[in-house]
Structures are given as C-alpha cells and as structure tokens.
Amino acid sequence: MNVADYQEEVKMKKTVIFGALTVAGLAAGAAGAATLDDVKARGKLNCGVTTGLAGFAAPNANGEWEGFDVAVCRAVAAAVLGDKNAVEFVPTTGKTRFTALASGEIDFLARNTTWTFSRDTDLKFDFIGINYYDGQGFMVPKALGVSSAKDLDGATVCIQTGTTTELNLADFFRKNGIEYEPVPVETNAEGQQQYLAGACDTYTTDASGLAATRATFENPDEHVLLPEIISKEPLGPLVRHGDNDWGDITRWVLNALIAAEELGITSANIEEMAGNTNNPEVARLMGTEGTLGEMIGLDAEWAKRAIMAEGNYGEIFAKNIGEETPIGLARGLNAQWTDGGLLYAPPFR
C-alpha cells in the first residue's frame, strides 16, 4: 500500500474529533475553484479594499464606500450580480491583503497593489490588468528646502511597511550612494501623523497616494512632491490563481470600463448607445450583437451594467481622483492610448 492510498484510507476512517481538528487544514484547500458560483450563491461580492485612502477607497459621510478602487468592485458586482451595491467591502492592510485573498475571505482585491513578478507567480495570484500606472515619489515640507530626492542624504524617511516601496527605497538610496533612516509605519494615517509631527523628513509611497494624502492636510500648499519617480508601480486588481473563469470575468469588466471610454460610452448616454449604434464593437459590448456574455458565463448585458454602475474609466477617474477633485491627479500615463497614455483595452470580439 503506498503512502497516498494509505492517506486516503486514513481520511475515510477519520473520527469526529480528528475531523474537527482538521477542518482548518482542509478549508485552505477548499477555497479554490468556482468563485463565480460562490459569489452568486452568496449574493454578495467580497471585495478587499484599503483601510481608507481618500479618492481610492474610503467610506463617505454616510458610511458608504466610494473611490477609484471601490468603483471597480462595484462594476464587477453589477456585471456578475446585477446590483452595484451587492458588495461587502473588506478593509485590508498592506500586510493582511494577500492572506485575505489567498484564504478566500475576499473574492477580489482592488487595493492599489503593485503587479510584480513574485506576487503573480510565487504568491499564486493573477493580476487581471492595470487600473492605475503609478510610481513611487517623495513628499517633503516646503520649508525643508529640498528640490530633489538625491538631496535627501541622511534624511529620516517614513514608509508604509509591507509594500514594494520599502524595497524601491532601499534600492534608490543604495544606487545613489546616500544614506537614510527608515521609520516603518503600519497605515497611511499613521504615516501622515508621523510626517506632520516632523518625526520624519519625508514621506514616501506611490505618487498617487501622496497626492491623496496631501489633499487631506490642513495646508496642502506647504508640502511638495519631489520630481523623482523612483519606481514603476502598475497598480491593479487581482484574484486567486487557478480560477481562470473568475479571472476572465474580472479582467474583462475592467477592460469594458476602459474600452467604454475609448468608444465614447458614458453612464449618461449608455441607453442611447445601446439602442441605436452602428458601431459593431459598441453593439457587441452592449450585448445587442454577438454572444460575448455567454462566453464568460454571464448574461448579455453584463458590460452595460458594469459601465452604468459608476461610469466608464474616465468618469471614475474624474469623479474620484481627477483634477477637479481635492486629490487633483492629472491623467498622465493613465490617459487612453489615443491620447498618448498607456490605457489600451484589447478588442471586444
């Protein structure tokens, strides 16, 4: 009798006590396939977001989550469940996010997470796309009189732990042969407090996050972002590796939001566009032509609902983090490829 057979037999014979003891072990293995069925059965999408970063994901005055990442969650919920409010938002920290996703506590992680090789492969996740092209920057008080990150020799740097920024920072200072003293902080709020108290000279994280943090300061004008962007930070939502159907659905919801902007479909004109269009790609996206919905296991109007939830990519950007908002981010790299940016959704056919 070989080992595997023997283990099978032992499993079959397991008593109540052993069964109870091993539930924890088995649960890890169970959370694998058919996320779509789980979500549908539950009637809610469990979506991991940040614990609170203005513009990206934060509860508003009424306790409703809103923001750039939140909108992606709502679009997925609208496409899959038909209700953009059928989302259970699970706040995660830089440290808990991967465990939450791997264990099945959340179905979908939309929490400005950098797409890296080891996260994609070693940690067994699938990044479904990039919804924000970012880079790591530095914020300093104007009074410090620093105009370049290379002048930061000997500075004390506040940094959120458990992020790629830690490694980028070490690399940047080593490359330039200058020294620094890291002050690790757990959350953005803590980093903000330390920075404002002067416990560190500069605060570093993704440039978008810095802009969002600065927007919440009492006097945003007294702080500047240094021109150096020291890393590539492609931020995107991710799902567990191994459930390709669920990965496809979420990937194409994100692509639908991006394509909608390119095709000129907005939440305002969507009914009109769906009704009478002579653009075949718009028709396929709206489900009036072809069977795209069926191919990913959803109904025909999945993309229409996703776009109606919070608008197309451009609308989501403008509403949450665009130049009209306190966050005040320019589109930059995040413009459509037709406008010189990097956003490029594959064709819907």
Binding site: Q7, V10, K11, K14, F18, L21, T22, G25, L26, A28, G29, G32, G94, K95, F98, T99, S118, R119, D122, L123, K124, A143, L144, L152, D153, G154, A155, T156, T161, G162, T163, E166, L167, L169, A170, D171, F173, R174, Y180, E181, P182, V183, P184, V185, E186, Q193, Q194, A197, G198, A199, C200, D201, G242
Partner: protein, 404 residues
C-alpha cells in the same frame, strides 16, 4: 497486596500487563503514548497533504536570499543586501534588548510602587493605588500608542535645533531630546582604554569583596564597618586615577546636527524609548500588586518580632520581610517577565524593528512565506519564554524557603 513486601516468585506472563497493578499503569501510558503519536502523525500528514493540494510548498530557502529592505536600529551589522536570516537576527536581538530593559525597569517600578502602596502615608498610598489601577486596566497597546504619540508630537523635531536662534537647544550642550529619539555622547575608545575598563571591572569586584568582608566581620565580631563611602571610593578612585595616568584615552563623541538629523554619539530611537517605557510602566503595575501581595503574605508577627529586637523599619523590610516575601513574589514575576517579552511583539506599532516586525512583518510580506515565517516566530518566542522560565525557576529555587 502482598507484592510490596513479598516479591512474586512466578515468572512474567503477558496477561499481567493488564491484571497486575505493577504493570497496568505503564501499559496504559504506553497505549496513550502510541495513540498520541499516531494522532500527531495523522494530523501532520493531513496538513502536509492539504498544503501540497493547495500548492503551498514549505521551503526555508528564502532565509538565504537578500532581504532588500533597511532597518533603522540595528545592534549587529546589517544592510539591505544582508540575508533575510540576518534581518531575523537583527529582530531577535532588538526583541531581547527591549525585553531585557523593560524587565529591569518594570521590576524597579513595581517594587517601589508595591512597597509604597503599603505606606502609612495616605497620599503616597493612594497615589500608588491610582498608578496601579490606571496602568493595568488600560491595554498596553493603547499605552504604547499614547506614549509614542506624545513623544513625537510634544518633543521638538531636529529642525528646531537649527539656525542662529533655534527654538530648542541641546541640554548641557551634549544631550539632544528630539521626536526621533534621544542623542547622547558616545565613547571614543583610544589606545589604553582597555586598561581603564579593566580597572573599572576590577573595582566593581573589589566593592563586592569589601561588602562581603564587612558583613562577615559584622557577623563574626559585631563590628560595624561603614558601607557607603568606602564602596564609592573603591568603585571610582582607581578608575579615575588610571584614566588620567594613561592620558585620558577615552574621549566623548558629541552628537551634532548635520544635515537632516543629529549625527555622532549614541542614538536611542524614539520607538525603542516609547516601547520600553510603555512596557515597563504597564507591567510595573502588575508587579506592584505581586510585591504587595508578597509583603502582606508575611505574617505581622514577623515584623513585630523584628521590631521587638530593635531593628529599624528599613532594615525590617530588607532583612526580614522581603526575603520571606520573595518566595511569594517570584513565581508571578516569572509570568510578568514572559508577558513583557511577548508584549514586545507590539513593537511594529511604533516602527521598532523587533522579530515580529522583521521576520514576521517585512520579510513575510516581501517573500509571502507566511507559514514558514510564523512557524519560526512561534519557535523563537517558545524558546525565549522557556529560557526565561528556566532561569527564573533556578532563581526561585535558590530563594524559596529551605525546608528540612
């Protein structure tokens, strides 16, 4: 049951394993042990099988890879190119450092507060009761945050020391208290400094020898030698003489504001101070209660008998009450020391790089090797806690009442 006095002549039969009381308990223990091992083996193999099924392979290879991140306070050499294992060692040493410091100060706080709680002075008694109740009834996590926040918000930033008319200045020109830590002058070891240090160590041994001699003289002949001033003289004079004789080989490196921060001297980071102080003052409140319980456990007759012999109250406490109280105080003191060590894992709250912050925090995050890191963490805390227990039990055995 004649077996005890009259050993059986009959030879051993297997059935005696159950029927004979001499063997029965051993039989059952062996059966229980076999079952236990089987259960552990089953659970272990089940866990391994499920981990394999979930695609999680356990490997400790990552420990040899470069860590890639920097750590602010390290007692051993470390750069971002050092291995994850070295980062773990940095964390272990930082954990031991803060635990050791906090155990000492918590004991000092606890003994003082515990003794003063029994003071005859109403105000002192109530003040100490207030300290104990306030500090032990608020979670240590909150205390760590409060103390750190007060430190960073209330103390001046290094930039406040800059300029011709700075808002803050260094105390005595050599101590800087900033919201990033305290900077104190550090020694510069010149040639011949080892001789000075050796002299000092010899002086310390000399002080102990003198005190032992004085005590022996007191017990043997009843002659009371002065204690305090000879101790001070033995401790300091040879070292000072040697220091100047060798031409002052030990210099001082004063901290000075250079660039963004103070450089030079010794830096004691704000996270370390906040964590150390919070752990000490929190656990000190528990130790105070242990000390009070220990003292109250010594019967009043002992105090009265000592007073009847003409001992002063300070000596009654030192010579009669505390030695007897220690046997009550030490066992709970062990668990308080263990609590300090385990509570030091909250260090990451204030950015102190202990083992939980390095191996269980950044390394875990960057490598994603959660199971391996957590297993190593558990192992470390287990070893440390058992080690502390062992040392304290040895001490307990040395101080407990010797019964004959």
């Amino acid at each position: 049951m004649t077996t005890l006095t009259d050993p059986p002549k009959e030879s051993f039969r297997p059935s005696m394993l159950l029927s004979d009381t001499r063997y029965r308990s051993i039989t059952f223990q062996v059966i229980a042990l076999v079952l236990l091992i089987a259960a552990i083996w089953y659970l272990g193999s089940n866990l391994a099988a499920n981990l394999r099924a979930a695609g999680l392979n356990i490997s400790f290879q990552f420990l040899n890879n470069p860590a890639g991140y920097d750590i602010n306070q390290t007692l051993i050499p470390y750069t971002s190119q050092s291995s994850n294992l070295q980062a773990a060692w940095v964390g272990i040493i930082n954990t031991l450092l803060v635990s050791f410091l906090a155990c000492i100060t918590a004991t000092i706080f606890g003994v003082i507060a515990g003794v003063l709680r029994l003071s005859n002075n109403w105000l002192v008694r109530k003040l100490m009761a207030g300290y104990v109740e306030i500090f032990r009834n608020i979670p240590v996590l909150i205390w760590i945050l409060i103390i750190y926040t007060i430190m960073t918000a209330a103390m001046p930033a290094p930039s406040a020391f800059r300029g011709d008319d700075p808002a803050s200045s260094m105390m005595l020109g050599s101590f800087a208290f900033t919201n990033r830590g305290v900077y104190i002058p550090g020694p510069i070891w010149g040639p011949g400094s080892t001789i000075v240090v050796a002299t000092f160590v010899a002086s310390v041994i000399g002080v102990f020898a003198y005190r032992r001699y004085a005590t022996k003289l007191l017990y043997d002949t009843g002659r009371l030698l002065p204690m305090l001033w000879p101790s001070v003289v033995i401790l300091l004079v040879p070292t000072i003489v040697m220091f100047f004789f060798l031409g002052m080989p030990i210099g001082l490196d004063y901290p000075a504001l250079k660039g963004f921060n103070f450089r030079g001297g010794i830096q004691i980071g704000a996270p370390l101070i906040a964590l150390w102080f919070a752990l000490s003052i929190y656990t000190g409140a528990f130790i105070a209660e242990n000390v009070r319980a220990g003292i109250q456990a010594v019967s009043k007759g002992q105090t009265e008998a000592a007073a009847a012999l003409g001992l002063r109250s300070g000596r009654i406490m030192n010579l009669v009450v505390l030695p007897q109280a220690l046997r009550v105080i030490i066992p709970p003191l062990i668990s308080n020391y263990l609590n300090i060590t385990k509570n030091s894992s909250l260090a990451i709250l204030v950015g102190y790089a202990d083992i939980t912050a390095t191996l269980g925090g950044i390394t875990l995050n960057q490598t994603g090797r959660a199971i391996e890191c957590v297993v190593l963490l558990m192992l470390f805390y287990l070893v440390i806690s058992l080690g502390i227990s062992m040392v304290m039990n040895v001490y307990n055995n040395a101080t407990k009442l010797k019964e004959r």
